[in-house]
Symmetry: C2
Subunit: 142 residues, 2 copies
Amino acid sequence: MVERMARECLSVRVRLINRVVTGLYDRALRPFGMRVSQVNILVAVAHGGSARPADVCRALRLEKSTLSRDVELMKGRGWLESDPPAGGRNQVLRITPRGLELLDQMEPAWHEVQAEARRLVGEADVDALRRIADRLRLGGPD
Amino acid sequence: MVERMARECLSVRVRLINRVVTGLYDRALRPFGMRVSQVNILVAVAHGGSARPADVCRALRLEKSTLSRDVELMKGRGWLESDPPAGGRNQVLRITPRGLELLDQMEPAWHEVQAEARRLVGEADVDALRRIADRLRLGGPD
DNA sequence: ATGATTAAGTTGTATATGCGACATATGGCC
DNA sequence: GGCCATATGTCGCATATACAACTTAATCAT
């Protein structure tokens, strides 16, 4: 039984891939003082100009409490702001000018690490990741 | 720029996939009081009968300090033991009878969640995950 | 309208994860 | 044998992540 789990378990593979890729991006973005988890959130918010927390949660498949704390941290660093500022029901998140500037500054680093990640993953299988993510994003509880 | 990152970033996809799949397994294994991260470690140790911590780290691409703490927790629950028991340099990890028994008990649940994960990921792309994981496992710092 | 149901956010708690610093042990080299 | 580089483990610290319970706001049904 153990043999089969060791050989076939999807979770082992998915989680290993996540650790390696996350580490890759985190190291590349460290000079900017931001982690990839935070960049993901920042980009999700900035994508449409602004976004409600619940929308970001659905887009990234993130638990609301996780996002709540991440956002709090990023507000503290001046990368995000919300309207209204108090975390009521109808807040809208927005990226700050400082946050946007930082995103711009990390663009070259992002290109590099993205290329490296594609290489390590294998160009032939990059598309599979997109398909899988798209499928899982739809599959969820909404 | 933000558009391109939102559309193409590999890390977003990999991390989303990880959250969804990890959540799937965690919910399925909750009745057994074990998380998928712990099952992964337990299986890695049990695979060869026993294993040194550093070997498990290499196999799963886990940071040594992460494993150290996870193992401590799992020892406390009686699923793992080490020889010698004090965490010196040459310890060897072993699964306990209780740990093995628990693995056996969760076999049906594992089969179910594995099938569900394959379905959600898409059978056509399951192999891509294996290839990617294999490539990343080799690419590392050894 | 209003009461019930559901959605959205926050906070408490537990784990997972990695980095840096440290202690220690192993192995080669002279 | 004694030394240095390296590998192994542990600990402090910061963050990410989810679940449960709670609060509050929106929606729906009558």
